[in-house]
Symmetry: C3
Amino acid sequence: MALPNLTLILGGAASGKSAFAESLVLQGGHEHPAYIATAQIFDDEMAQKVARHREMRGDGWLTIEEPLDLASALANAQDDQPVLVDCATLWLTNVILGDHDIDAHSAALITALKLRNSPVVVVSNEVGQGIVPDNALSRKFRNAQGQLNQRIGAEANLVIAVMAGLPLVLKGSLP
Amino acid sequence: MALPNLTLILGGAASGKSAFAESLVLQGGHEHPAYIATAQIFDDEMAQKVARHREMRGDGWLTIEEPLDLASALANAQDDQPVLVDCATLWLTNVILGDHDIDAHSAALITALKLRNSPVVVVSNEVGQGIVPDNALSRKFRNAQGQLNQRIGAEANLVIAVMAGLPLVLKGSLP
Amino acid sequence: MALPNLTLILGGAASGKSAFAESLVLQGGHEHPAYIATAQIFDDEMAQKVARHREMRGDGWLTIEEPLDLASALANAQDDQPVLVDCATLWLTNVILGDHDIDAHSAALITALKLRNSPVVVVSNEVGQGIVPDNALSRKFRNAQGQLNQRIGAEANLVIAVMAGLPLVLKGSLP
């Protein structure tokens, strides 16, 4: 069974969500799926994480780096290849830290996702299941992340939560 | 199918748990379900949240504000209408910050829930899936919240976890 | 149905994961299952937690205290009795705070788990679903915990997430 048009992969930190999303895209058998990387590298910790993910991912992916304008990156990606967006959480971080309009950027992202004619898989973090953070920026961020996940979840054909590397289907069914 | 006697809706921050709980109550077709609001408004952030929730909820609800004595509010609510409690987490916060007895208040709440003759839906937060908080009050709170969720979950006929606005049934089955 | 060789029980703080794991081990009907306790008691809060767990657990368990060398404790446990490890998270905390090699210890643990001939149930925390912690040690810990959960999850026959005391099967099926 083929991947549906839009898939959302949710998970906590180090839950195995990226690896699961990659295997989901690869099982479609496309030779060069697109990988939209939203990470911005400011320090060693992030550089190491990006390098580790790149190594795990292996060759064959067409990598597109786009920290902010995800809507254009999606619009410009080749139309007959699946696209993996990793991840909506780093993108949202960039939107918020850059003091951009969250609603406008989210609306543009949703529109771009709906316009794709080939499968898109979006990786995103679950960040709202801890104690209320003691600073306003973190509270703003987790609210925005929760709302973004709801919006993507409402449009997605397939929504999966990953825990300990294992999928839990929230909507639709695994191909 | 009708709502069962007691339903627990769990979810993280901004997971869509309140909207899901409201739709669950409304699908019963009652004209004026009761809404027990436990929020206390101390600052603008909470005032905005309450206003946003009120707008999303729409008219038709009979709102009862009760930050602390949830047991009496449940006992006093009309007996032939469903009740939505939103939420057990803010109520527990009020119990703890007011330095009240958590066990006594929890036991009274459980008793009141069991005495209702029409459906009750309780919204509560999952707060224990982050890193151990570095202050004792937060650790006390997340232990109390986890134990309260377990106690309500043990009595409930239907328990649902909401992620990205989507339900995951933990106990019972959706009406 | 008997317990499979390796079971992983995941959950947040105060989710009821330990009680669920104990009931799972006890339903096998063994008279003296082994309980490997990894907690180190440094303060009153932990002493109270350990005492509460011991009381809930009741008699009949053969308790083995091993904060660090979990691999040897597993190898030395009697071969015809089920073993409950409570929990991988406190063990990992001890490994990290003692500045031991995480990968080497994790690999030894996985090997020891695979060598057991009777059922082992490992309790572990989900810690990655909150906001990114603001200190490097917490971030290191939650990455290591997520990766450990993935490794145990990959070997396990049965993986269960516990929320509000209720099980959600991620892999395999409940006996």
